[in-house]
Amino acid sequence: MIRSYRKRFGAFAPKVALLGFLANFLMACGGGEPPTSATAAGGSSAAAGGGSAAAGGGGQVATGGATNVGQVTFQITASVAPAIATVGVVEWSIDKSPIDQAQIEFGRTGTEYVAPVDLSAASYRTLLLGMKPNTEYTFRIVATSSGTTYTSEPQVLKTGFLPNALPPVRVTDSNPSKLYGGFTVSCNGVGMGTPGQPQAGDSFAFILDKEGEYVWAYDLSDSPVGECTRARFSYDGRYFWVGNFNNVNTKGALRRITLDGENEQDFALGGRHHDFTTLPQNHILFHEQENGGGTIGNEGADIIKELDPESGQVTVLYNERDNFADIADDVGAHTNYITYVPEHQAISFSMRHSDTIVLLGYPSAEVLGIFNGVKDQFGLAAGGIDWDAQHGHQFFADHLLVFNNADDDTESHVLEFQFDLAQKSAQLLSTYSGGEKSIAFGDVRRLPGGNTFITYSNVGIMHEIDQERVLLREISVGPIGYSSHRKSLYGEEERP
């Protein structure tokens, strides 16, 4: 079956927070009790000399320093970050050396989260991430020196508020006991006006916790990345990156933000658009229209480029024209999604107008496989299982998940294929249709443990489903871009 190329971004689907006459913005909180754990102190522990302090809306107050009552002394200073009042900032020292390993355990009751300490950081500065607004948390430092573990006395820190302009979130749980948990990372701003224009709307990068509550937010409004479609952690988890939509335009931009929101770095990247991904060396991979931004109906090919954020150097990895010039010239590539695929030492990218997903060796830039579309190598069309428009997707060794926007249907679908890369064969394993429609954007991520996280971007609804494709949770947050989901806010993102 030869499918029409005549597709472009867009659809009748975006769900706007219409007129704002939406009073039912109740946050329904699901999730279970936080785990508790005890950390055994091998040595003596130190008592806190100072007390706790509360942070106001966006303010911060330091906790007092700790003084010694045992074998060691912890000196601790803690506050909430001025820019993001749900981020705790802890600086500390101990009169023992060398310190071999350290972490900070924190939570509302017991240990909910563990923040690893970078021992090379000045004053062992450590961020406490994932805390809810206007909530009191207790933390303690656990440090190991020469085989002995020292634990500070508990310290209390109260978070401040996040921006009141964040879009309301509604969570509906069907089976919370089977949820993966963890955090949802996304951003909004599409449909809220053009950045830099007089009436551009609000745009935020944000993180929701396992209960669907905001625990981190960064205001992108009126910034170069204000029309945000992608927000994600750097590969090592030390930074937060955001990118604007910039569909058929010349104002492509990326911003790198420290997780305390204190520092930011912008990268003006002309025709970059839609998406970007992170690489193990913490470089950024993005795609840029070869014509610098082009015009509607003249999108042409995209060039996949790699950014080294430390040097600012950009290098070309691959030009789609090398293998897809006919598509580029006929309808335009309209590349809309890019991923890193460690299982194949590859990357993948999606070209919407031709219903095509490509697996490309990295850094070889060799085409490893073409899925769907007129150049399909896997017999999908012959098997009657080709799809009509796609954005988000995820590759594994022999599986492929696809967010099928399904322009010709009233709901979008998540398709799962099993494929044999050597034999160039594939079969459809399953389809999930959640009753929602998003022709623009849309995302799908398999979570460790087997659940799947699906984002219907335009309608701002996310589904977590189990392995039997049974809906476990629905989150409604208004129109967003792509999203990712991770267990922890520290370190690399887990893969199933």
Binding site: S4, R6, K7, R8, F9, G10, A11, F12, A13, K15, V16, A17, L18, L19, G20, F21, L22, A23, N24, F25, L26, G56, G57, G58, A85, N134, G160, F161, L162, P163, N164, A165, P167, P168, V190, G191, M192, G193, T194, Q197, Q199, A200, G201, E227, F245, N247, N249, I296, D408, D409, T410, K437, I439, A440, N458, V459, G460, S476, G478, P479
Partner: protein
């Protein structure tokens, strides 16, 4: 007793501000108040003389909860449910039936006056036209809009066009999907939503209604200037959707009579207004404290509360002083951060006239009416 006021020239917000929201307004209730008394600590709110009303505060109302209220030497001004005004809104939106499976013409050329009664110059003022589809009847849409309870999960989608000043009409198949570049959605992708000839059509008019919106800003869902409801029918002849004058009317009934008055020290700007205990807004909906994004203090030197109720749309233009500040985060604000249009700092309330503080939800909400209005009454003597 109710009185009806006209739209023309009336607004709750200044025009520039008002344009951001889809408001409510029109019929303002006197709330049983026949007259008002001169302003003072002991006679701030007059007794109710009409039927159905209740007595207003004649003495010092309680300001409960905080360790030290403003009139007890502290700085806390606690806003509570019982200190809030009440508001009822009614929205009427006209309906039409258009031909299905057709590249409809959307035309907002004839829009010269919005539902606030203010002039519109369509080529310049209309920045976004939205077509939205809802799984509900026209009456349900009207009802939910009026009550500010429209559930977004029942919206099945939206199409957009961002006018650039060069056109005031556009065909349906030129619309995009909230994409400011106006990249059109291919016709074949739109047909499932408009093809009423398809026996498997998923949006029958018996259950689904389209809502068209012409708005003055590009922030989708805000700044509406005109609304129109329509359904599709293959047998219909009309192929043009007009967004023109008079398609929408709004009414509102506001009452201050039931609200408890809050005392604050006279001429003292260092006051912290706290609304963390609020649970219900003026419309009777849930008050989420962290959704307040603007705080105002207004002064009316000669008006009575009846005047304010009867001219609810004109509060800002009627006010002799208007101090405001954005609420970036949290559930309280220091009034010393408020300023007027000339950047003059809020000086604290005086013993003359009426004073009120109002809280707005300007981001997650589009109804421009304040979530709360609390009348303030001076206590103590000038410092």
């Amino acid at each position: 007793m109710k009185t009806t006021s006209t739209f023309g020239g009336r607004s709750w917000l200044a025009r520039r501000e008002r344009a951001r929201y889809l408001p409510a307004l029109c019929v303002a209730s006197l709330g049983g108040l026949a007259a008002t008394s001169p302003i003072g600590c002991s006679e701030y709110m007059p007794p109710v003389t009409g039927s159905g009303g209740s007595a207003a505060a004649g003495g010092a109302p309680a300001v409960g909860g905080l360790p030290a209220s403003a009139c007890e030497g502290g700085q806390a001004v606690q806003i509570e449910n019982d200190s809030n005004y009440s508001l009822v809104t009614k929205l009427d939106i006209s309906q039409s039936t258009l031909k299905g499976n057709t590249d409809l013409l959307i035309d907002w050329t004839g829009l010269t006056q919005d539902f606030f009664g203010h002039a519109v110059h369509a080529p310049e003022d209309i920045k976004l036209v939205l077509l939205t589809l809802w799984n509900m009847s026209p009456e349900e849409i009207e009802g939910h809009l009026s009550a500010d309870t429209l559930d977004a999960s029942l919206q099945k989608g939206a199409l957009s066009i961002y006018p650039d000043g060069t056109f005031t009409t556009k065909n349906l198949f030129s619309f995009g999907a909230l994409d400011p570049s106006n990249a059109p959605v291919p016709a074949e992708d739109l047909r499932p939503f408009f093809d009423t000839t398809d026996p498997n059509y998923q949006y029958p008019p018996s259950s689904y209604t389209f809502l068209a919106i012409a708005q003055a800003g590009t922030n989708a869902g805000s700044d509406a200037r005109m609304l129109h409801l329509f359904k599709l029918d293959s047998a219909a002849a009309a192929t043009t959707l007009e967004l023109k004058d008079g398609l929408t009317t709004l009414m509102a009934t506001a009452s201050f009579a039931q609200a408890k008055v809050v005392e604050v020290p006279v001429l003292t700007p260092q006051l912290n207004v706290d609304w963390s205990r609020m649970t219900k807004n003026a419309l009777g909906n849930v008050f989420v404290p962290t959704r307040v994004t603007k705080a105002v203090v207004a002064h009316f030197e000669t008006e009575t509360t009846a005047d304010l109720e009867g001219n609810f749309l004109d509060l800002q233009s009627m006010a002799d002083a208007w101090y405001e500040a954005d609420v970036k985060a949290g559930t309280s604000i220091g009034l010393e951060t408020l300023s007027d249009a000339a950047r003059g700092a809020f000086p604290g309330i005086s013993e003359q006239g009426l004073w009120m503080t109002a809280l707005f939800c300007t981001k997650a909400c589009s109804n421009p009416a304040p979530w709360s209005i609390t009348m303030l009454k001076p206590c103590g003597s000038a410092p």
